[in-house]
């Protein structure tokens, strides 16, 4: 039963990203060319409201619906890891026009070849796991 609520939220998120055209390769291209405010508006407003939500959670010590305290783990500080990892992700994002969420949503949208992109991303997640100890973190 618990899993159904995650399914429900996933469906809402999938519809949102599909209807706001965030899953579109064109929108990502347009964003990186600074030719439209759309994507900046989406991410910007999500972050501003997100900050308010996180502050409410922290200041009211809000509990989850199961009664557990909500903990948001801080990320460990490092520069090379986030910068290099971020750049590599950015290169791929601009090519495929899809970050991991939209990849799944595009499957539902009938863009079947995106399965290849997902498999490719899976394979290289594995390669990262193998190389992890040799990379600067």
């Amino acid at each position: 039963m618990k899993l159904f609520r995650y399914l429900f939220i996933g469906i809402i998120f999938g519809i949102t990203l599909a209807k706001a055209e965030i899953v579109s390769w064109y929108r990502i291209y347009e964003m990186f060319r600074f030719q439209s405010f759309h994507m900046y508006g989406v991410i910007g407003s999500a972050v501003v409201i997100g900050i308010i939500f996180v502050q409410i959670i922290k200041r009211t010590r809000m509990k989850s619906i199961d009664g557990e305290p909500i903990t948001i783990n801080p990320k460990q500080f490092s520069v090379p890891r986030y910068l290099l990892g971020g750049i590599i992700f950015g290169l791929g994002w601009a090519m495929t026009g899809a970050c991991p969420g939209p990849m799944f949503i595009l499957v539902g949208n009938g863009v079947s070849v995106i399965v290849v992109v997902i498999l490719s991303a899976l394979l290289d997640t594995y390669v990262y796991g193998l190389l992890r100890k040799k990379l600067p973190h």
């Binding site: 618990k2 609520r5 995650y6 399914l7 939220i9 996933g10 469906i11 998120f13 999938g14 949102t16 990203l17 209807k19 706001a20 055209e21 291209y29 347009e30 990186f32 030719q35 439209s36 508006g41 989406v42 910007g44 999500a46 501003v48 997100g50 900050i51 939500f53 996180v54 989850s64 619906i65 948001i72 990320k75 460990q76 890891r81 986030y82 910068l83 290099l84 990892g85 971020g86 590599i88 992700f89 950015g90 290169l91 601009a94 090519m95 026009g97 991991p100 595009l106 949208n109 290849v116 498999l119 490719s120 991303a121 899976l122 290289d124 997640t125 594995y126 390669v127 796991g129 193998l130």
Partner: protein, 188 residues
């Protein structure tokens, strides 16, 4: 109602909805991070036997896979029931530019059809855009410890400096490809 939500959604609807999705996941005791699913899938496929990075209790992550399944269903619902037009409302400038690169009627469908087809995988352009692109996404997200949802949305919402560094990285990579690689790659 159905007609209303079938129109393309403006940014000021989508942005708050994304924040609500993150908030809901936190309330349910989860977190908002989609690329973790790629690690979980590797673990389920048995990667833990050969690499300790994937040797963890993936059962605790099933909720996130169910969330990803929801994404596929959400995409399907939007595709089947909420589409008065499949056109993407991109700017004139973007359309003109992409036409020059030989992309046929840019914005007519969700993704450039000639690029996102099985046939295109056999071309240099398609192989780079989809296979190499997917590779970079998979490697980059795990190295950076998150993608757009984990860093740009959740991390920035929690005022995390590492996430800001990651997002700056996303843009360095994205701008590099868009300005210096795509002009060549798109005309291959």
């Amino acid at each position: 109602m159905l007609e209303f939500i079938s129109q393309p959604w403006p940014w000021y609807v989508a942005g708050p909805m994304i924040a609500i999705v993150m908030f809901s996941l936190l309330l349910m005791g989860g977190g908002f991070g989609i690329s973790s699913n790629l690690r979980t899938m590797c673990a389920i496929l048995g990667a833990g036997k050969t690499c300790e990075f994937f040797d963890f209790n993936w059962r605790s992550q099933i909720w996130n896979l169910v969330f990803a399944l929801g994404l596929i269903i959400g995409g399907l619902i939007a595709h089947l029931y909420l589409v008065p037009s499949a056109e993407v409302q991109i700017s004139e400038a973007t359309m003109m530019e992409l036409s020059q690169y030989g992309i046929e009627s840019p914005g007519r469908s969700l993704v450039p059809e000639s690029m996102f087809s099985w046939d295109s995988l056999l071309t240099l352009r398609g192989f780079f855009m989809l296979v190499v692109g997917g590779f970079l996404v998979g490697f980059g997200t795990r190295y950076a410890g998150g993608c757009t949802s984990g860093h740009a949305i959740s991390g920035l919402s929690n005022l995390q400096l590492p996430s800001l560094i990651a997002v700056i990285g996303f843009f360095i990579g994205g701008l590099f490809v868009t300005y210096l690689v795509l002009p060549t790659l798109l005309t291959l």
